[in-house]
Symmetry: C2
Subunit: 339 residues, 2 copies
């Protein structure tokens, strides 16, 4: 009785339900969408049939006219330890609203990102959340015309076609830098990335915060942004070269924990006294930062909160909101032994 009846004759469809309940197909559809014009008696009949037959509507067919209740999440790349908490927050909101999230990885390459967004549109997903996309703001806007969209990790408060949710990266960087300054340090460098085309990337915003904090402390002439190469085999300065500077910096603010952890390792291996000779603060408060052997001070972005807000924002955009929304989440400085 609980199941088994569904097996014979392949997938069971809305027609079978209609037949079983002795009503029209349209009636069943109405019940499911709880549309206008169904009596309590009919609703009950239909609902009984639905779970007697263990009926599940085909999302694919649904997509041709109505909603699919699925939303796409485009991730830069999977290795970023910031993502799990972000997804936790988003999933919670989405699943409560009966939506399912499907993620894809863009590998930080624009061509792949484009093809994946297209694929999500073609699957008739109801909306997309993009995390730190490489695509230009212009291109994002053009996609946003085709599908409701929220972007995380992309600072473009002027965008009108889509919404954004971000950590207040500038504030976070200021907090980190100010903390290093408060420790009596003056020679403080920032480890960042080579400037790419986009002015909307998070590290750009963090650089601004670093510079602001230095300037406020009257250290504007000590500002130094160290743009390390991203891949070992590319050209450009290495992260570890920071330690060979003469004089060696008293403090380093890293745009990301990924690099901060590596720098901290290198420093300790070289026998540098952290934090007395060199203090380090990272960004993201990744799990590795919290390991006692590492003990890296870092900025907590509150990823779960960001994910939650992004999902909320997307749902309201799907619900019809047309006025853009750009949210900043206040970060937090987590102090450990590295500073």
């Amino acid at each position: 009785m609980t199941d088994g009846s569904a097996k014979i004759g392949g997938k069971i469809t809305i027609k079978h339900v209609a037949q079983d309940a002795g009503v029209s197909v349209a009636a069943v559809s109405k019940v499911m969408r709880n549309a206008y014009g169904v009596s309590d008696a009919m609703r009950e009949k239909v609902e009984r049939s639905i779970d007697r037959l263990a009926y599940r509507p085909s999302t694919a067919a649904r997509g041709m006219r109505g909603r699919t209740f699925s939303i796409g999440v485009l991730l830069v790349e999977m290795r970023n330890p910031f993502l799990p908490s972000l997804m936790d927050g988003a999933q919670k909101v989405l699943s409560e609203a009966n939506y399912r999230a499907f993620m894809s990885v863009g590998e930080a390459r624009a061509a792949i990102e484009k093809s994946l967004i297209n694929a999500m549109i073609d699957l008739k997903m109801d909306g997309v959340i993009l995390v730190a996309p490489r695509l230009s703001g212009e291109l994002l806007a053009s996609y946003a015309k085709q599908i409701p969209m929220v972007v995380i990790g992309h600072h473009e408060p002027g965008a009108t076609a889509f919404d954004t949710v971000n950590s207040d990266d500038r504030l976070g960087a200021r907090m980190a830098t100010a903390h290093l300054i408060a420790g009596g340090r003056e020679n403080i460098q920032m480890a960042s990335l080579p400037r790419k085309n986009g002015d909307f990337d998070v590290y750009v915003e963090r650089e601004k915060g670093y510079i602001e904090a230095m300037t406020e402390a009257g250290l504007e002439n000590r500002v130094g942004v160290w743009r390390m190469r991203e891949h070992p085999d590319r050209a450009g300065p290495r992260l570890a070269d920071l330690l060979d500077l003469d004089p060696m910096p008293q403090g380093v603010f890293c745009w990301s924990d990924i690099h901060a952890v590596r720098l901290l390792n290198e420093a300790k291996v070289r026998g540098i006294d952290v934090p007395n000779q060199l203090a380090i603060v990272g960004y993201d408060n990744t799990p590795a930062a919290g390991l006692p052997l590492i003990g890296l001070s870092s900025i907590e972005q509150r990823g779960t909160e960001i994910g939650r807000l992004a999902a909320d924002t997307l749902l309201s955009r799907i619900g019809g909101r047309a006025t853009p929304q750009h949210i900043l989440v206040e970060p937090e400085l987590v102090l450990r032994s590295s500073s």
Copy 2:
């Protein structure tokens, strides 16, 4: 000419292409599926129209009769650092075959896993890859009847309805244990998990390997499997309690780096001499293991290879293969300072 024509009148469909090329809708469909019965002349005409109009077929509509060229990947949870390399391998194969992968997270809860697999079926995805699902083999088999399926991290070589790809976890555990024994140690414990319902989980297989290696060395009476609680707030022994045993183990083989790294940290914090007083070997060779400050010996599963094989297997299953396939990938011991 390059674009812009597509804008007016909404989404462009197969009809527009047919009209533009001056052929029937069926003809366009044939060209796209490169089905039998199209002349070179027609193929060319149609293809020109397709990219003149920047036409992309609706996956949703396609799903109602044919393939969607999308496959679903169900992940246990996102925090497992083994996943990115796995996905790298799978993505490569899939994208070469013109498939797109969409991931969802089951949060290690059976109910969520079920609902997500259903969602993937309802989206008419062409196949699914499950990573370390919590579902029983029986349930997996019933889903496998509805959709081509490959399971990773689930040792059930007797399964016929679906395929499996796994690291040879038993061998890996033997290698790790044998290495600890070769260092002259006899009191070697294994840190594992509480036994759950499934006998197919990877840690069960790793336990077998550990016991085999101990037995082969004549240490069968020294076998000790330490089942730590999974969450801090649950009942059961803590991981760190291993260090309070009297006598303290000379070596610990951890079923996963996640725990090995924590144990190593705890040991060093307590001032225990690693590896002389206590040697540790983990499993997964996660990025953290490779940090100089950590230096954890670990078993490399070769996730990329596993992902690659899983995708290959799935594609051949989609292609019609009916005979089950169960693949084991040989792991590798990576030695560092912890052992």
